[in-house]
Symmetry: C2
Subunit: 550 residues, 2 copies
């Protein structure tokens, strides 16, 4: 029997990163020390680490399906994960050509990781969903380690990473040798919905950037990519049904669009990493770019008695609007396999509607008085019925709930307005709706210093409400709006700041030690850097392998 | 005769970038419009642009030495500049293999740029200095354009860029065709010292990152790389005389050091772009990393009557300290060809000195009373004498002046403390010293939105003083301190925010139109992106060629 003690992982931090508390500007910065949890991020629910360690040799180490596993060699999702993780483990050791002929493992080697999907349906060929079982159990012992999970999502979706999170070491110390401590990990997420919002409208994001960030999301156990794909500024989504939307509305009709093949690739790349892709098509506001390619979709604004030439939100009084939306969202429902679509509904400016005489007439007919929120609700209600008919659930920004629109019971209300978001969480859940939180996690706001700590300290259930209400909080999302972000700065601005949100949404509620978080996150960010991701530093320090790009 | 009118450069912005003033957070953002100066950045002192334009064809266009030029084919500085600029012009058109056999130029082509160095000594093989003549005159007319400059620095140091700053166009419009407007430009810098400080101690900066930023500095007409090479956190400079300094003091003795060959490469890469390299070896504070490899260099701190085990600033009371400094700065004087060294001298914490009984005794002997500034000055004075004996001038941070240290008349005082920097500029220049300004340009401080405008609005001569005093302000530096910056985020954080400082230091005092600056800078940043530099966006928009990295 192994004695499990909370000792340093022998090689998880080795000499540690040098750190120093001298800072010209900020006092009381955390000073790096090795955490007893090494570089584990986000911290698993239960982890026991032994002082016994095993060698890992790239030439002999294998990741294999357990005999009893319900997912075998035909599960390409797992097979491609094995390859990916093997490369992460031994990336720099692939040059061990000299040991190719020496495949016998040392008795002290850990020679195998067996992956065992225990449920009869592995879900290997399915898509992750909000109810996916993401739990897993990892036992590292000699001579084989076993990773047990009911579904592939547990085995795959970042979970296998923890296997390697036990191993991080400046390679100069052990040039051709890696090792791992004996350990038992039992893990599952605290919240089911752990998302990142990227905005490809304010700036077009090349596919390469989106894929790199999906990869990094997986490293941080995020499982939802909220793709804010279009907005006022541009319409890069190439619609098969309405190609003129991107022809006219994208920044450029060829170089700044997402083709159906692009979208498909993003969805499959995400699925292979256990990540859902939820597209947002925000209406009736935030739609300037839609109007360029779709005549009469937007409301003509008036200046006095004449049209001013500019346009406002979607025109809610025309039947053609709803015909368009029905066709458009039917396409969306087939292109995006996830059970949910984000329908936006935020920040509708009523100025243009108020100026338009036809809208005024309609308001009278409908007995809406001067309350344009009723007109907005009228529109949204019809849109929700359309989307429901496509068999999709929906997420909406909080204003739609605030305005009293009738929502399906499975609607997810997305709370984003800072200041009073705790009260909003109370009301939304008191009304019985499921909710996700973004208000404290607008990562496009930047400031000097370690703002990840601010994100880390958020407690999503810190609002007044019953236990039943708290259960309706299914998670949250870090939002990186795109006004000041494009391919040049997106990745270092997002990581590792979003990693703070990742741990808050995954780990147990009582994981709040900011010093320990700093120690683990410093190493976790170096791991991201080593894997080619330009995750920015937390503070003065170094990584064994610095970023190789510019 | 051409009529010179201030018309749109026919192709300099073509359809312009789409822009839109919708922003969720900030009101009154500038809206992009084409500037009459196209994408020129920084704006030349005098520029006349004609409506007449000429075609540019990569197969026929040549950059050649003018017959009367004092710099011929043996001037490798110019020859390598020609190649670089040709690639910038026609980079994406290099694939015009089909036109290789068609070298005859169209009559409407601009076929040649003649570069004419007019002074008998071109300074081709020299190093740029604070007195270098950087002026140039560019005449674009048919069939040849002429670039006249007294020295290579005028022709080269970013000046040839302006030639191409007249040409920026989404390539889809003119796939295989570029063109340029007739123009006359007369240009010279307002300030001689236009610098960027990078900090390779808080985080090690791989050589590749330094070179990419030197290239970008040249695109922005910066001419000083202030290399804050060592500090408390690490000592990456590999000294031939004292190799143990980096062996012990670097983050890593092999992967995180600058070898003599690295330093040489940086200096030559900079020289070829008209950029001076001024290293900073900051003492007596900010020297923790020096102490690791050099025994007895730092002051042992005391806790009561016993050494505490920690160390303070350089020990100013030992002869060995000055022997070490003499040898060290003799090496520095040969390794770095520039006439100046930055000696630091900022932020000396007296706590440790005060705790040390030997220091206390020395204070008594010297009749310094309790004034530790006198001890600091004692040290600095001896250091300045040492550096003077190596035939170098020096820059020092403002505290050295504030503390009344006797300085050589050619000393440059570096003003960095925010709040009251205008008063400091008054006192320093009233005392007759040359000065450079950094206080308003600490670019490591970040905030949401377009903070480049804040940097742009600074007027360096906005302090009380005579005309004679104002003449002593030779320029300024944008500082990017390294606590939160490494290879992952340095470049997008620096550019285009530092470009605002570049124009302030180069262009005429009355170039202050923030809207016009926004329009030109939007295009200038896209040009940097097109050349592979991840310069971040100013606001929602797009570039014809988005950044290709991650």
């Amino acid at each position: 029997m192994l004695k499990f003690v909370s000792l340093l992982l022998a090689l998880s931090f080795c000499q540690g990163l040098q750190h120093n508390n001298i800072d010209d500007y900020v006092e009381a910065e955390p000073v790096f020390e090795a955490s007893k949890y090494g570089s584990l991020w986000p911290l698993p629910q239960k982890v026991q680490i032994s002082e016994v360690s095993f060698k890992l040799t790239s030439s002999s180490f294998r990741i294999v399906d357990a005999k009893a596993s319900s997912a075998g060699p035909s599960c390409s999702l797992l097979q491609s994960a094995y390859r990916r993780y093997y490369e992460y483990m031994f990336g720099s050791a692939k040059k061990q050509w000299w040991s190719k002929n020496n495949r016998r493992s040392d008795p002290s080697d850990l020679s195998e990781l067996q992956v065992w999907i225990t449920s009869p349906d592995s879900e290997c060929d399915g898509y992750p969903s909000v109810t996916s079982d993401e739990s897993y159990e990892l036992t590292v012992n000699q001579p084989v380690a076993v990773l047990k999970a009911p579904k592939v999502w547990g085995a795959l979706h970042g979970r296998i990473y923890t296997r390697f999170e036990l191993n991080f070491c400046p390679p100069t110390l052990h040039l051709f040798q890696k090792s791992i401590n004996a350990a038992i990990i039992n893990d599952f997420p605290r919240f089911q919905h752990r998302g990142i919002l990227l905005d490809s409208s304010r700036h077009f994001l090349p596919i390469k950037v989106i894929l790199a960030n999906l990869e990094t999301m997986a490293m941080n156990k995020f499982n939802v990519f909220h793709w804010h794909i279009v907005d006022d500024q541009s319409f890069p989504y190439l619609s098969r049904t309405f190609p003129q939307l991107s022809e006219q509305g994208a920044y450029h009709p060829y170089t700044h669009v997402y083709t159906p093949a692009d979208v498909k690739m993003v969805i499959e790349f995400a699925r292979l990493r256990g990540i859902r892709v939820i597209p947002e098509f925000d209406t009736p506001g935030h739609t300037q770019s839609w109007g360029k390619g779709q005549k009469d979709l937007l409301t003509p604004c008036y200046s006095g008695s004449k049209p001013s030439g500019s346009f406002g939100p979607v025109n809610p009084i025309l039947n053609t609007t709803y015909d368009f939306m029905a066709q458009f969202f039917t396409e969306i429902s087939t292109v995006f396999p996830d059970g949910y679509v984000h329908l936006g509904g935020d920040e509708v400016d009523f100025t243009c509607w108020k100026s338009n005489p036809d809208i005024q007439k309609f308001m009278e007919q409908q007995h809406f008085g001067d309350d344009y929120r009723k007109l907005e609700s009228f529109y949204i209600q019809k849109l929700l019925d359309i989307v429901t008919s496509t068999k999709k659930g929906y997420l909406i920004w909080q204003e739609v709930f605030d305005n009293g629109v009738k929502l399906k019971p499975d609607t997810v209300v997305h709370v984003w307005i800072g200041g009073g978001s705790d009260k909003e969480m109370s009301s939304v859940t008191a009304a019985g709706y499921t909710t996700i939180l973004s208000a404290p996690w607008y990562l496009d706001y930047i400031s000097y210093g370690q703002d990840w700590q601010k994100y880390y300290k958020v407690e999503p259930l810190n609002f007044e409400g019953t236990d039943e209400q708290k259960k309706l909080v299914i998670g949250g999302e870090a939002c990186l709006w795109g006004e000041y972000v494009d391919a040049t700065n997106l990745t270092p601005r997002l990581w590792p700041r979003a990693s703070a949100v990742a741990e808050r949404l995954w780990s147990a509620k009582d994981v709040t030690d900011i010093g320990d978080a700093f120690n683990r996150l410093s190493l976790h960010r170096c791991r991201m850097v080593e894997r080619g991701i330009p995750a920015e530093p937390l503070f003065s320090s170094y990584c064994p392998h610095e970023y190789k790009g510019v």
